[in-house]
């Protein structure tokens, strides 16, 4: 167990959360098979009792913004959105990232053609807003993303997207699942490029490199 804050969700709830997410989808046709599977085959309660929990990791800084200031030990000082937005009257929601002024100026956004209000609650900026106008907490972000990203949500519900830590055998131990925003920046969700690690080293490859690199 990592010492991070966790939102403990028993395994059976993941199935129901996923089912709710799927049933709410407009793109039901695309995921019809996964959705009906999840809805029609609830794992029996008896079986659940024998199982350990699957915990969905909560990103510690979700719903906060880096203020750009650093603490005495160099730690990032971040603040919940509401700490500003509840203090004084805030300008109406911007539609586009380019419309953001003052504090959020220069905000980088590359996530389709959606407006800020498509995901953020216009009244309470510490909350998210679903397409059916329901309000959810920042930590329930999976439900929000699943509205559009059905195939990914389906794969996630079946353990084939997003990665995990812990036990494959839930009879013997817990499992920790990543949450969407652990890997994807919600405002720029494409996975960024970065330098690979652990370049293979062996006598043939070293000789090859010395002779002028790969044959291509």
């Amino acid at each position: 167990m990592e010492p991070k804050a966790k939102n403990r969700i028993p395994w059976q709830q993941i199935g129901s959360v996923a089912a709710v997410a799927f049933l709410g989808l407009g793109m039901a046709a695309a995921v019809a098979r996964g959705a009906t599977d999840a809805a029609q085959q609830p794992v029996s309660a008896k079986k659940m009792a024998e199982r350990h929990a699957t915990v969905i990791h909560v990103k510690p800084d979700v719903g906060t913004l880096d203020t750009g200031r650093r603490g005495p030990q160099g730690q990032v000082i971040s603040a919940p959105c509401g700490s500003c937005h509840k203090q004084h009257s805030t300008p109406p929601y911007a539609r586009k990232a380019e419309d953001l002024k003052e504090f959020h100026a220069g905000f980088r956004f590359k996530h389709g053609n959606i407006a800020c209000g498509a995901c953020h609650d216009l009244q309470d900026r510490d909350q998210l807003r679903l397409a059916d106008d329901r309000r959810i907490s920042m930590s329930s972000v999976i439900d929000l993303c699943s509205q559009c990203h059905g195939p990914q949500a389906r794969d996630y519900a079946h353990g084939a997207h997003g990665g995990m830590n812990g036990y494959w055998d839930l009879r013997r131990g817990d499992r920790v699942r990543n949450v969407c925003v652990d890997c994807h920046n919600p405002h720029v969700p494409a996975y960024p490029q970065f330098a690979p690690v652990q370049r293979p080293r062996d006598r043939f490859l070293e000789a090859e490199a010395a002779a002028g690199g790969h044959h291509e």
Binding site: A160, H161, N165, D169, Q198, P200
Partner: protein, 311 residues
């Protein structure tokens, strides 16, 4: 006649020279022999007597295995200065492991390869790992055109990444060629190696169509502080010099119910692992719902490692 007369007075002198020559030759010979066997004199036994006399893994009783693990722990302490625990977890009934990898998601970061390197106590200077990530051209499955030594930001446009490790074949060519049965398939699907029985002939390395086996050219060098103390006899214990090793699906973890190290390290969730015999498992869902394929299917090796694309 004159010749004989001439030689006779010289006889004592000739005998003296012969003796001298013989003495010199003997001295030189001794020196040369000593020099020739010098490496033998410097040789320090790398295998203890108990290790040398050890029988095949399958012939050992549980008690003998326990003694052997204790001996190997002591040897690790002596040779590496590290306190380790060597267990011998057994395959479970009703469990058959399989792995699947989503090639649409893999970004080629080689974090799996790094995790393997650390988890399995690989030789540090050679950077060994059981996983080789191949940078492939999009639209091609030609392994010959792949590149394993890429060194640029990933994922690069126009490429996809194909991590290859032991495919734990159900019809494994490597097992068939072993002349001493030092490698075999366990009932949970994992192909293992008894490092104390392997003679290092490398037939298996040549037989593997996936280039999944590695040979210990030298004794692995790992600093004591970096040694993973959670070890298995058939998995990540420190291997002797001159034996072959390979991916074992982290059996010291997976037979305890945990996920393999490479899966936990994957930052994108491209890897799916589980029990093929459990119809509710993640791996079964992938195999039943994704268009999975295996590498070099035409060879009939029946891998337990599946690949798939999302789209």
């Amino acid at each position: 006649m004159s010749e004989i007369e001439n030689m006779q007075p010289q006889a004592p002198e000739s005998a003296g020279r012969r003796k001298l020559m013989l003495g010199a030759a003997a001295t030189l010979g001794t020196a040369a022999t000593a020099r020739a066997i010098a490496p033998l004199m410097d040789w320090k036994p790398t295998t203890s007597l108990a290790g040398f006399l050890q029988r095949h893994y399958k012939e050992l009783t549980t008690l003998e295995k326990k003694d052997i693990c204790a001996r190997l722990e002591a040897e690790t302490k002596q040779q590496y200065g590290a306190d380790v625990h060597i267990a011998d977890p057994q395959a479970e009934d009703g469990v058959g492991f399989a792995y699947a990898l989503n090639l649409s998601i893999c970004i080629g970061c080689r974090k799996c390869s790094e995790a393997c390197h650390q988890e399995n106590n690989h030789d540090r200077p050679s950077g060994n790992s059981y996983i080789r990530v191949i940078e492939m051209e999009q639209g091609s499955l030609d392994l010959e055109r792949g590149n394993t030594t890429y060194d640029h930001p990933v994922p690069r446009k126009g490429n996809y990444y194909l991590p290859v490790q032991c495919q734990q074949c159900d019809n494994a060519p490597c097992v068939k060629v072993c002349p001493v049965e030092a490698t075999w398939k366990e009932k949970d699907g994992i192909v293992v190696v008894d490092y104390n029985w392997c003679i290092g002939c490398r037939y298996c390395e040549a037989a593997c169509p996936y280039h999944a086996r590695r040979f210990n050219w030298k004794k692995p060098e790992v600093p004591a502080a970096e040694i993973n103390p959670n070890q298995g006899y058939l998995s990540n214990r420190l291997r002797p010099q001159g034996v072959v090793e390979k991916c074992h699906f982290c059996l010291h973890r997976t037979r305890e119910g945990r996920l393999p190290a490479c899966l936990e390290a994957c930052p994108t969730g491209a890897r799916v692992f589980g029990n093929l015999n459990d119809k509710d498992s993640e791996i079964r869902w992938v195999i039943e719902n994704k268009r999975v394929f295996v590498l070099k299917e035409e060879l009939g090796t029946l891998p337990r490692f599946f690949y798939f694309f999302d789209k």
